[in-house]
């Protein structure tokens, strides 16, 4: 263990790795500061740049983009009242009023310090929780894995979007898309309909880029007048009071710890990412406060809770990825893909086969949070100009970067055509109020689910084994309960709503 730790440490602390990580932090902060440009997009665009790097270096750079991205969203949230990313929505509730009240520097510094402590706490939880979970996961058979995937898909469908049924349909559409191409066990072609570009299947990263990035970019163009309006609300002089604000954040240990741990938990639940953590931690801080009426007027507790919460999901999201091989979010899925590009399979065996890589990831998380803090405190005032880039530049440029990312994945131009088609599908589904997360997770988890189902039945053709093995049965019961809970909540909401 110590050897692996030291090996990981030496790779992360290499000068070129630190330099690339610093650039990654800057890229993440800048990307997330631009309204409409999300952490997912930043990670997607970083991926092709890491192909030529050693595996750990590539992952470390992507983690630094990830950590920086969760912080960058607060810049436009605080200064413009526009969440830079969906995971900084609740940050606007208090950071923006605080900035309007003449304290923009304090609002930004509070957010940066809260993000830093949230990431550090989540990294500690990750280091403590992931190894024992992986040790258990190694003992799981194909029955448990299949049941785990069923549970992951149902919980994502239950958690996101306005309608459970549309969430489940989106997940099933993702599973259907995953069946296109060669059968994962025998390699037989399926559903290609004579179209050559479908023969290798739909690469899940292309689907992911199309579904999230392209559909989000197009959504940014929906209000022509708003898109064409330009102007800046950023004040010319900002005082950050860095260390005074650090003490202010640390003087709220219960809020900080509660929000961070809640963020870790939400991050570890597949599908429930930073956007949910951001709102949930803000809500919990407000409930626990002696002065809830002050929330929304520009108080420090609101900024600390929302920013610590969304940043803590970064470490939490890595727990199921490293321990179980199940990506909890789109960003985790891209991290998983980048490991696969380097020929490393993610899952419980990662600890056994690539322990140095896992410890390197832990160290990279901690180093990324320090880099983010340094970069933000030293050069925040320069990042503020990023929010002034007009959308007419951002949208086409990022669209091109998505096309480059899709092409660079396999050097196949047909992947770029698929990107356009999937982007259109994603945009239409988004307009029709389908949650997109279950669809992408369906595409990613479909082949894993099919492989494990078929392996399980090859070992024992009796389907009831799924219900007689305790862990498998518990996971299937949890899947049923998550759907039942969601249906019950929906019924309650409908009864509570006034009759139309």
């Amino acid at each position: 263990m110590m050897d692996s730790f030291l090996l990981g440490l030496s790779q992360i602390l290499a000068f070129d790795t630190l330099l690339y990580m610093a650039l990654g932090s800057v890229a993440g902060i800048v990307a997330a500061a631009i309204p409409g440009f999300t952490v997912t997009m930043a990670i997607v665009l970083t991926l092709p740049l890491t192909f030529a790097m050693p595996p750990l270096q590539g992952i470390a750079v992507m983690l630094s983009v990830y950590v920086g991205g969760y912080t960058g969203g607060l810049i436009s949230a605080a200064l413009l009242g526009i969440p830079g990313t969906p995971s900084s929505v609740a940050t606007t509730f208090d950071a923006f009023p605080m900035a309007r009240n003449g304290q923009p520097g304090r609002a930004l510094s509070l957010g940066v310090w809260a993000s830093f402590f949230g990431t550090v706490i989540s990294t500690i939880v990750l280091v403590v929780a992931a190894p024992p979970l992986a040790a258990v996961a190694v003992k799981l058979g194909p029955w448990e894995y299949f049941s785990l995937i069923v549970f992951a898909l149902t919980i994502v469908a239950s958690l996101v979007g306005a309608s459970l049924l549309r969430g489940l349909i989106a997940g099933a559409v993702g599973l259907a898309i995953a069946t296109i191409g060669p059968d994962p066990m025998m390699g037989r072609p399926r559903f290609t309909f004579g179209v050559e570009m479908l023969a290798p299947g739909l690469p899940f990263l292309v689907v992911l880029i199309g579904i999230f990035a392209i559909s989000q970019l197009m959504s940014e163009l929906e209000k022509p007048d708003a898109v064409r309006a330009e102007g800046s609300l950023i004040p010319k002089t900002i005082e950050f009071h860095t260390f005074a604000v650090m003490r202010e954040v640390l003087s709220r240990p219960i809020n900080l710890l509660r929000s961070s741990l809640l963020g870790v938990f939400v991050g570890a639940v597949p599908g429930a990412g930073g956007s949910i953590a951001n709102l949930l931690t803000y809500d919990q801080a407000k409930r626990a406060s002696k002065t809830p009426e002050k929330f929304g007027t520009g108080i420090a507790d609101g900024v600390v809770a929302s920013e610590a919460g969304n940043s803590a999901t970064s470490g939490g999201g890595l727990i199921p990825l490293i321990a179980l091989g199940i990506p909890g979010s789109a960003v985790d899925a891209i991290l998983m893909a980048s490991l696969m590009v380097h020929g490393i399979s993610v899952g419980p065996r990662l600890f056994l086969e690539n322990a140095d890589l896992v410890y390197g990831m832990f160290i990279a998380m901690a180093v990324s949070s320090v880099l983010m803090l340094l970069i933000c405190t030293l050069s925040m005032r320069y990042f503020l100009r990023v929010t002034e880039i007009p959308k007419y530049v951002i949208v086409p440029v990022v669209t091109v970067c998505c096309a480059v990312g899709a092409f660079a994945l396999n050097n196949r131009i047909t992947d770029v055509y698929l990107l356009g088609f999937v982007g259109l599908l994603g945009y239409i589904m988004k307009r029709l109020d389908y949650p997109l997360a279950p669809l992408v997770l369906g595409v990613i988890l479909g082949p894993i689910a099919e492989t494990n189902l078929r392996r399980a039945l090859m070992s024992d053709a009796d389907w009831s084994t799924f219900l007689t093995r305790p862990i498998s049965a518990a996971l299937l019961a949890a899947a049923v309960l998550s759907v039942a809970w969601s249906v019950r909540s929906h019924m309650k909401r409908r009864r509570a709503a006034p009759a139309a």
């Binding site: 349909i169 259907a176 559903f191 898109v227 789109a330 007009p390 669209t399 096309a403 050097n411």
Partner: protein
């Protein structure tokens, strides 16, 4: 960039960049009916898709080595999808029976088209860009796409045209050069062959 404040947080979706789009504020009852009809159409579309895939999967060979063949898992998925779609269609039909069908569907479609004119224009430009990428190469097709897309979205002034030109050069020829020289990834070269790196 608009400087308007956010008053209504979007529904959390759980993944970056994928916030669920709910119906816009102030949506009229007629628009709500049209939205429900569109959702119903999507359920029917997915049901038909599931039916086609299920039928095709029946022709996939069974395996001698395992109980499930290449077509079994797709059949389970398509059956599940079809079941969900039937439930959704039933719910949507009930809702439409309660709230009624939308009036002036053609007018609503026209209004939606106008509201989404930028999205449609940029999507069309993107489709043309993808079609031209192989024959013209990445650099030239990207340059043209960036110029066209920026001029579609921006207010047409001399300043925005100059910005569009600079951005188009940097992110087409510049990006092509960066990938070729630094990352050793060769983007489609098209008619210029290896002239651009």
């Amino acid at each position: 960039m608009s400087g308007s404040t956010v008053t209504e947080p979007p529904a959390p979706n759980g993944m970056e960049g994928a916030s669920a789009s709910s119906a816009p504020d102030g949506e009229t009852a007629n628009e709500a009916r049209a939205a429900e009809l569109a959702k119903l159409a999507s359920y029917v579309f997915f049901l038909l898709g599931a039916g086609v895939f299920f039928t095709v999967s029946l022709g996939l060979p069974d395996s001698r080595w395992e109980p499930l063949g290449a077509g079994s898992f797709p059949r389970i998925v398509m059956g599940f999808l079809a079941l969900l779609c039937v439930l959704a269609i039933a719910g949507s039909a009930r809702r439409l029976a309660r709230i009624g069908l939308p009036d002036g569907l053609a007018r609503l479609s026209g209004a939606a088209f106008v509201e989404h004119r930028l999205v449609i224009s940029v999507f069309v430009a993107f489709a043309v860009y993808l079609a031209l990428m192989r024959p013209l190469g990445f650099a030239i097709s990207t340059f043209l796409f960036l110029i066209v897309a920026q001029l579609i979205v921006a207010r047409r002034t001399l300043k925005s045209a100059l910005i569009a030109l600079v951005v188009a050069v940097v992110f087409s020829f510049g990006l092509n050069l960066l990938f070729a020289k630094v990352f050793l990834v060769f983007l489609p070269r098209g008619i210029l062959g290896g002239l651009l790196g």
